[in-house]
Symmetry: C2
């Protein structure tokens, strides 16, 4: 039986979705819980890795299990009694045998959240990044349009990536601006290592009027970097994976 | 010189505003930071205690300092470099010598936040309480009206309180209900030990149709308790103190 899980986690204490030599990943915690529950050692496949400290509202994972003694839709409750409190399975369902959380994924949406304040706010600091400058939000919106479509994002990929190609398609970038918050939502067919945080950092530089459409066009076309800041992990959340 | 501080904190790791034999309070951390900064041992007075685990967006405190070498409005930045990251001073200002954070306080507003979900959501769990039942929100609104005004709240005071009188005045209770959240805002001239969390627990019991206006009227009039649940500290936040 193939089971699809929808998972939410607070990534603060994990080295990301995947385990690393220096720490535990969310994937490993889920595999351990499934083994405790069923006695079966399974490999859980995520829709993609999230980096260390990045959060998820709707990560998706799948696994195959030989014994079908527990109905797929009952897995989430049972796993939640075995998982650490910063990881919860929101939903579990039976899927076709050819379903694969990574290969079948069509669209992923990430959200980056800033709070606006001159002073660090302890009640925001866990899941948001402070923004103390007044930004040109119209310019951010204009510059964001340049990223939409199929491009070579090699400028926006941190070293250490194992990706075969740096070409990705971005479907949409939404900017939600209010008095207290700035949210940047990015949807695409997939993302490179630290790519969303680099895109967001670039858009913030645009809002600060340090770079503009010319520099972004150049980065996408020629791969020439223009001082990109990678935003901190804690403000980033994987919202949804579409299949 | 008398200085007024506006403070925000994540109360998760504190035993409340005031230190207790079993743990550190937020007040002590601020006193330690002031001593490090000025070399002077001062007593910091808060607008009131917040209980263990309760958060603050706008707690107010005051203290007297002999040396006036640092201008009052510069204290916040200097203190923030010395405070633990879950406590931040938002604002500091000079006030009249007769100002006292506790005695001069006219109105306090607390907010309690629930998220609606069948499953625990790790990204909400730190500052909100899960609500999985469908509540009768109209009934909550009707019942909330009964608390407004001057009443003897002895039914809503946990044992261990040192208050001289259990009479308090509630100015307003606001209920903000959406698809994903329920927020209860309570404003009053002061609150007893665990009083807001008991009021909120009572209103939830009203929403579950376990008790109603009759039982609340009786509790306020005769002091006869009707199975009050005290809601968890983590969902509660001191929003504002008015002077």
């Amino acid at each position: 039986m193939k089971v699809k899980l929808t998972i939410s986690y607070d990534g603060t204490n994990y080295c990301g979705w995947q385990s690393q030599p220096n720490g535990n990943g969310v994937q490993k915690e889920i595999e351990k819980a499934i083994e405790k529950l069923t006695g079966e050692k399974v490999a859980v496949t995520g829709s993609g890795r999230t980096d260390a400290g990045v959060h998820a509202q709707g990560q998706v994972a799948s696994f195959s299990i030989e014994k079908a003694t527990i109905p797929a839709e009952k897995y989430f409750k049972a796993l939640n009694t075995l998982l650490p409190e910063d990881i919860r399975v929101i939903k579990s369902q039976k899927v076709n045998e050819d379903f694969c959380a990574i290969k079948s994924a069509k669209q992923k949406t990430y959200e980056y959240t800033f709070y606006k304040s001159q002073v660090e706010l302890p009640l925001k600091e866990k899941y948001q990044t402070k923004l103390s400058e007044n930004l040109n939000v119209e310019r951010i919106k204009e510059c964001a349009k340049l990223f939409v479509g199929e491009h070579d994002f090699k400028c926006f990929c941190a070293s250490g990536s194992s990706a075969k190609t740096t070409v990705r398609t971005i479907y949409e970038i939404k900017i939600k601006n209010s008095k207290t918050q700035l949210k940047i939502l990015v949807s695409g067919n997939g993302f490179l290592y630290k790519m969303v945080r680099s895109l967001v950092g670039t858009l913030i530089a645009c809002g600060e009027e340090k770079i503009g459409e010319k520099e972004i066009a150049e980065m996408l076309k020629t791969g020439k970097k223009h001082g990109i800041r990678t935003m901190p992990a804690k403000g980033l959340c994987l919202i949804k994976v579409k299949y």
